[in-house]
Amino acid sequence: MNEKYLPLAATIVVFVALFAIGGILYNNFVSTLVFGDLLADNAFVIIAAIGTTFVIISGGIDLSIGSMIGFVGVVMANLDVVGWHPLVSGGMMLVFGLVYGALVGLVIDFCDIQPFIVTLAGLFLLRGSCFMINLDAVPIRHDFVQDFAAASIPLPGEGELHSSAIVMLIALAAAIFIGHFTRFGANIYAIGGDRTSAALMGVPMRRTMMGIYAMGGFYSALGGVIYALYTSSGYPLAGTGNELTAIASVVLGGTLLTGGVGLVAGTLFGGLIFGLIATLINFNGSLNGAWIMIVGGVLLFLFIVLQRFLVGSFRLRSAA
């Protein structure tokens, strides 16, 4: 097996093992219902995380994901009040995400400021803008929201593939295409592998950096749209802390934070593992807040160690 697929394989193994453990511990766990819910419930974070995967592969980071999710929802809800169709306002927010991201990329490249800080400022700015728009949670009442929630493809068993999961899978496919079958995608990996060299090899830095963050912005805005439809509301505190979940999903999916190495597909499973941890804790149903945090940390630790161990042993096997 090609070296670069090892972390992905390890992540998938960990995910399957975790699912199996859930099945052993709890009734009704291994079912398409749980699986369908898992995909749908985590769709918005995973979508945002997919965009972040590119940012991280390029050696950067995006901390404004959570705020973007909140901001998109708040704007959509307020536009709903004045009668906009969610698809229109959602589409507008996607464009906003794209433009906003491009601007962030421009600042990072032109002013040579570290992505961590620029996007941290973005986090404050977008969240602060939510508060300035309004403080209350605003419902989105348009019928489309219900139609969207109802749309689904039935899975064998009781489960169904919800619309948000479908959007996520399409977004993933698009990302895989961009990452692996375009010149732009290859340029992203090059910048992450060695920025100076990439510039010397003729990678158009400004354009590519803007493209990378524009994608990041687009995907987190899409995550925000899905979240808004999913909760049929805009809430200024929505998405708080999601940036860490998204980044952790990316890393758990085998992408290196130092850049240059990683696969978008890994992010899907990284995100699902996080979702699965939450589901397991919910199924257990006797943990209070303190235990949830502790168990969450312990599980995270176990998966990382297991994943490392698997990658190591795969590597040995392929070397032998």
Partner: protein
């Protein structure tokens, strides 16, 4: 299944604990899920309850909006839903059975009424808000303002967010002290929860002011530390938000599961105002 908001402050953990203990007493098998203050976690939890086919679901919603879809799923699965604490904003009120809770708005109003009464309608108030955008912060502020609006001489001169924390309350009060030249002309400090008020008390003491004396201190929650502060005269009033409300909630749920009788959409749990004169009950 019981889906709690999170563990912030002193009040919620106490409530969660009470819910779990009361459930044991009543012989209920309670699945407890803590959403850590996040709506999406809560929706996940409710979905997990549905997948596990529980008999009833109690939700203390993080946010009022966004419940239509998931409550619809619960309804389809034939699981009745009860709300505790906050309300939800759904089109179809039949999606949940009833709401059993206190009223944030009322708490704010009680605090406002107390302020009006204690100051005879003349006060300059500094306000320590809760987390920006959080429902209790919004509602308590609205409630307080709804009452004080009737008194033209009650003015909120400074307001800042202390994030519902002691530390935040202390920092905000320090800033107030500085920007108002040692709280000159300030009569009342209204905090959206006790933790912030306790922080504010510390800040005032450190600046050489006498809380409860120079400035009247009113807040919400009535946690144990506040009882002491009231007893010591450092604070003047706190609106109780009962945490031992399992005994109010479970009977309603069990009754409904038995006879499926329609209930009014809001079963209120009373809030009490405790003042320095009546600190220990």
């Amino acid at each position: 299944g019981f889906s709690q908001v999170g563990d912030e402050g002193d009040w919620r953990p106490a409530w969660s604990k009470d819910m779990q203990e009361e459930a044991k007493k009543e012989g209920i098998d309670l699945k407890y899920a803590d959403a850590q203050g996040k709506e999406e976690e809560q929706i996940k939890a409710v979905r997990a309850f549905i997948a596990q086919k529980v008999d009833a679901i109690i939700i203390a919603p993080v946010v009022v909006t966004g419940w239509d879809a998931v409550l619809d799923e619960a309804k389809k699965a034939g699981i009745p839903v009860f709300l505790a604490d906050r309300d939800v904003d759904v089109k179809d009120k039949s999606l949940f059975v009833t709401r059993i809770s206190a009223d944030f708005n009322l708490e704010g109003r009680l605090a406002g009424a107390w302020t009006a009464q204690a100051t005879k309608g003349q006060a300059n108030v500094v306000e320590e808000q809760g987390t920006v955008g959080a429902a209790p912060a919004i509602e308590r502020k609205k409630g307080f303002e709804a009452v004080t609006a009737n008194f033209p001489d009650i003015k909120i001169v400074k307001t800042q967010s202390g994030d519902f924390t002691t530390d935040g309350g202390k920092k905000v009060m320090e800033a107030f002290i500085k920007s108002t030249d040692n709280l000159k002309g300030i009569n009342v400090s209204f905090a959206h929860n006790d933790n912030m008020q306790l922080g504010a008390i510390q800040a005032m003491k450190e600046a050489g002011l006498k809380p409860g004396h120079d400035v009247l201190m009113v807040s919400v929650d009535y946690v144990p530390a506040m009882k002491e502060a009231l007893a010591a005269g450092d604070a003047n009033a706190s609106v109780e938000l009962r945490s031992a409300i399992g005994k109010y909630i479970y009977p309603v749920v069990l009754q409904y599961l038995k006879d499926k009788k329609e209930l009014p959409k809001w079963v209120k749990i009373p809030s009490d105002l405790h003042t320095a004169a009546t600190p220990l009950d």
